[in-house]
Symmetry: C2
DNA sequence: CCGGGCGACTGAACCGGTTTAGCCAGCCTA
DNA sequence: TAGGCTGGCTAAACCGGTTCAGTCGCCCGG
């Protein structure tokens, strides 16, 4: 078989034109007469010519690939379905556009920085997605220095030259708290994510603001690293206190599910004696018992939007911020009126 | 700044040699005198020369990247922590070797095939990982035809030209059944994975063989697609039957956790009235209540081994099969003696 | 009838490496 | 001393596209 031997020169010779003209025709650039263009394209089709990505990469200094560097320990990564879904969304855009996704999973922040440097040194990608934004995120100046286009998932707290694709997660938390307050809860606690992460503190702030709006006293808040293990620990600490809360708002679903386990273990019935809400609406949430009242995130949509924006940025040099519909509360079975209210109501 | 301008020609000129010789020195090939070599390398270091991956790709026809195509619907993908962990393992090898991972997540089998074709057409990768092996897996002839090196995760059921990196999952299932039988269970059911997947039927076969070994009658088996939703449904069907089993062996943890939810919902106490075992030992398993008795898989190790093998195959043209230590049963709290046994024991 | 402008097209340089043919000096052997 | 071999090195082709300066023919206005 003449395996993958046909080059632009073959097409040019066969069509009786120069290599350059074939290139022009391919990238529909002006300066090629309509009939010549169709002839060239026809010949290319006949010959089954596929322009070499590698050659094109070399001369255009583009790699036609996007990068995603994920710095998380594998455990947290494993229990968080955000990335698989996000990536699925990204792919759904990339595959049609002839782009590839280069993924890098690194164990530490230093490795993360090395990874970005490597990615640009090698010219592996034309742009990257910045997820899990941190306070004063060091990646923003880094990427600015490296001159690598990027899109941030959410708006950074410092100055950023990059477009942001955001989904407001505060209404979801506010709704959760309001819902619990309406059910009659007065001691509501929050098991927060890491305070180094923007979405960790943002959800915590939203929680506190919502308590305030509801006219409730500031509840206990425990900071975690978003991991299932930390969620479990935090829940245990909360529930074994004198003034244990009657409701807990978790910063993500994995921790909420771990919390459910702890409650079961301690013989505390959910939702009768303890109400809990999660965040993310992961697949599991619907199938634990009781099914988790949570806030629905839409990582697939986020992935799509981020990919579209990043490609636009790369191609045109500029792209607008995008605001996705806010995450909303989904009411299932893990929250109810607190025990004393219930009694008095009966 | 002279950003990334230094090429092999600069190094050659500065060192007073030809481009070719610099190339020889870089790839330590014979034909360069020791002192010239060190001089060239010193100059290269001084100038901060980084050979262009793109140029190298073009002339060597290698891409220095490995591919992973995942065909799963995003939901199943999200609740299964196998891939994140596997990828973390792969990365831990790749990053040191200057290789990148190109990830492709596709929704269907046709898209999967297109994805592989695209990957080789574009010369994006030098080899791929074949996960989630299916019966008579069409990817094996496809990749053979495409001439793309690959490593299979597990041994395929048909002929395969590719090295296999395997972890035997049958002992884990066998141990689970033996353990349940020893506890006194006689009606043990299996919620199996998809029968199109090799590991789906393999675990099912192991289950049946183990029942036989234990001298127990063949139990009920329900086939699923490995998803949480399917696990939930299957469990409900099983538990609402006349002759409901006293123990269920699940083909993976997500389904087992969903099963736990269904049991709770139906007011069936685990492990007192129903014992369950899972497979994978995902992060959640330790934190649900009761903590899941399951079989520990080691996807990170698997990823490492697969990456090492694939790189060896690409570089030397051949690589041996690898057999990783078998997955073993981890006893936690979700299995106990069945109710009647317990009664008579008390 | 001439000069200018424009559209279509060519040839060659270029991206930055690798690879091969071949040259030359020096040494060994007959 | 000639002949052959070999280690060290160079020049140029090559990978397969893109890009740019410039040629050529044609149409148009003056």
């Amino acid at each position: 078989m003449n395996t993958q031997k046909v080059t632009i020169a073959d097409v040019a010779k066969r069509a009786g034109v120069s290599k350059g003209l074939v290139s022009f025709a391919l990238n529909d650039r002006p300066g090629v007469s309509p009939e010549t263009r169709t002839r060239i394209l026809a010949v290319a089709g006949d010959l089954g010519w596929k322009p070499s990505l590698r050659a094109r990469s070399l001369s255009t200094r583009r790699s036609f690939a996007l990068g995603l560097v994920v710095a998380r320990n594998p455990e947290v990564l494993g229990s968080d379905p955000f990335f698989p879904s996000f990536i699925a969304g990204v792919e759904s855009i990339l595959s049609d556009r002839g782009q590839a996704l280069v993924l890098s999973v690194v164990p530490s922040e230093e490795a993360e920085i090395r990874s970005y440097r490597q990615l640009v040194d090698d010219g592996r990608v034309d742009g990257v997605f910045l997820t899990d934004l941190r306070h004063d995120d060091p990646r923003i100046p880094l990427l600015t220095e490296l001159g690598l286009p990027a899109v941030t998932l959410g708006r950074p707290d410092g100055p950023s030259p990059f477009p942001a694709v955001s989904i407001d997660d505060t209404p979801g938390i506010a709704e959760s708290v309001a819902y619990l307050a309406r059910l009659g809860h007065r001691r509501i606690a929050h098991i927060a994510g890491s305070s180094t992460m923007l979405h960790g503190t943002r959800r915590r702030d939203a929680f506190e603001a919502a308590l305030c709006t509801a006219g409730l006293p500031l509840g206990q808040t425990i900071e975690t690293d978003f991991s299932v293990a930390a969620g479990s620990d935090a829940t245990r600490r909360l529930l074994t206190r004198e003034d244990a809360p009657t409701a807990i708002v978790y910063a993500n679903d994995p921790m909420a599910i771990a919390g459910l386990g702890v409650a079961h273990e301690l013989g505390i019935r959910v939702p009768d004696e303890l109400s809990i809400t999660g965040f993310d609406d992961i697949d599991f949430s619907r199938y634990v018992y009781p099914p988790l009242t949570t806030v629905s995130a839409t990582p697939v949509v986020w992935g799509r939007a981020a990919a579209t924006t990043l490609l636009a940025l790369i191609e045109t040099g500029a792209a607008d911020d995008v605001n996705l519909p806010a995450a909303r509360l989904i009411i299932r079975g893990s929250a109810a009126a607190p025990a004393h209210t219930r009694k008095s109501a009966t």
